[in-house]
Subunit: 234 residues, 2 copies
DNA sequence: TTTTAATAATAGTTTTACTATTATATAGGA
DNA sequence: TCCTATATAATAGTAAAACTATTATTAAAA
């Protein structure tokens, strides 16, 4: 991950696996527009109704131009969720920089999963808040396809796996004999998104309540689950 | 749920919310063929590549005939996952009939989530084993859409909610002061499918290993998670 | 036997998901 | 300054998906 600092603003450039895209969207205005407005449009229409024609219309470009950046809308979705995972990894990194207690670290990790955005809207072409909503609603579609093995072989899910590995390391720091560090790490991440989605759309499947970007109950629940499973007091 | 017993075989008829389908597929040969072969074809092609034309071809019928049973392939998917959830509820029911210990009940529930089929292939037009695979791979797509609120309002997810409620009741029997019975119930169910999927396709996201229909490690892990969270010894 | 309902056959439409080709604008180098 | 490479835009298309309408045929029920 590269961090560019300028005098006027802090601009973060997140570097993503090259096989996700055909041409790096961060390197041109059109590319950044594709990212920015695809997030808004997927949030608005849902992934199924979203397509490159509508996106091109929205940004005053054409369908073939968008296709020069991404093979198809599925590749674009993988790009967006990878961006999101890198962003969460970045949040965890800067917020745990002076923290030594692994329990405290895990708490920060959970907060990063749940909040993901709120405080620091640092990148002008990505609204992390809306991207988080998109990942909650559409994220699993990135890897729930018939092509998962082939795409995994190309490294398209490295960003997610890297993040989960980092979390697993912290889990083992807390409790070195815990048998399921990776499963707990991925479950905390998936559960966070799932339970937020349930609270919003299928409230009978959860106990927590959620208001517009107020996810404190999710945070509390995940911390409770983690502490119980790893055997420590909060 | 109705149970029909005949002399020659035990045939289970699972009754599903009428708003899922246009015409009850269990009431005709064509309908049962649609169910049977849609499961096989979705398993083979994945939900995205599956469509009513290919299905009609496979069962020697026509596209318009299939459309007389289901509004579209999304409705058919909701039907299939609802069938699956009812099937799991049925398994839980018959296997906990003489069990009083709620901890033992929860163990049976977890086994039903994980195994879902293996022993009792009772319904001739549904292969529960393959249906389980389909639910693992495609299940979340049933409710992760822009139409979720509208469809939830029509009662299309009642079968899932009913199942989760039953599990939540058992969780509270074990530990009446547990704060998150619904979240734990839905998470056990989602986690089961998720972790099996990860073991098969993204093994770096989990610790468990899975072989063709050998899910004992998942079972063990979920039981461990449940016992830790609810504070009992296995 | 008549009527009804279910299915099949045929033939469409609209939208999606792409691709090919050509034109234009712009940026950098000689 | 011109030349050339490259990005993008404009236009026009194709193949398949996701339906729908209409009519014919068959089977079952009254």
């Amino acid at each position: 991950m590269f961090l560019y600092h300028s005098i006027m603003s802090v601009e973060i450039k997140i570097s993503l696996n090259e096989s996700i895209y055909l041409r790096d969207p961060q390197d041109s205005t059109l590319g950044r527009n594709i990212i920015k407005h695809s997030i808004l449009l997927i949030d608005e229409l849902g992934f199924e109704a979203f397509n490159f024609k509508k996106l091109a219309q929205k940004i005053g470009s054409t369908e073939p131009s968008v296709y020069r950046y991404f093979e198809n809308k599925h590749a674009l979705l993988i790009y967006l969720v990878s961006w999101y995972w890198e962003w969460v990894a970045y949040l965890i990194k800067i917020n745990t920089i002076n923290i030594n207690d692994p329990k405290k670290k895990l708490e920060i990790i959970i907060n990063s999963f749940v909040l993901a955005s709120v405080d620091n809207p640092t990148t002008d072409h990505v609204d992390e808040n809306i991207l988080h909503r998109v990942v909650i609603a559409e994220g699993t579609k990135a890897y729930r396809t018939k092509e998962v093995d082939e795409e995994n072989g190309k490294g398209l899910f490295e960003h997610y796996k890297k993040l989960i590995t980092k979390v697993a390391v912290v889990i083992l720091e807390i409790n070195p004999s815990f048998e399921y560090p990776y499963a707990l790490a991925s479950n905390l991440c998936e559960m966070s998104n799932n339970q937020i989605y349930f609270a919003k759309h299928l409230p009978k499947l959860t106990d927590i309540k959620v208001e517009e970007n107020k996810y404190s109950e999710v945070q509390k629940m995940l911390n409770y689950f983690a502490s119980k499973l790893l055997g420590y007091e909060m």
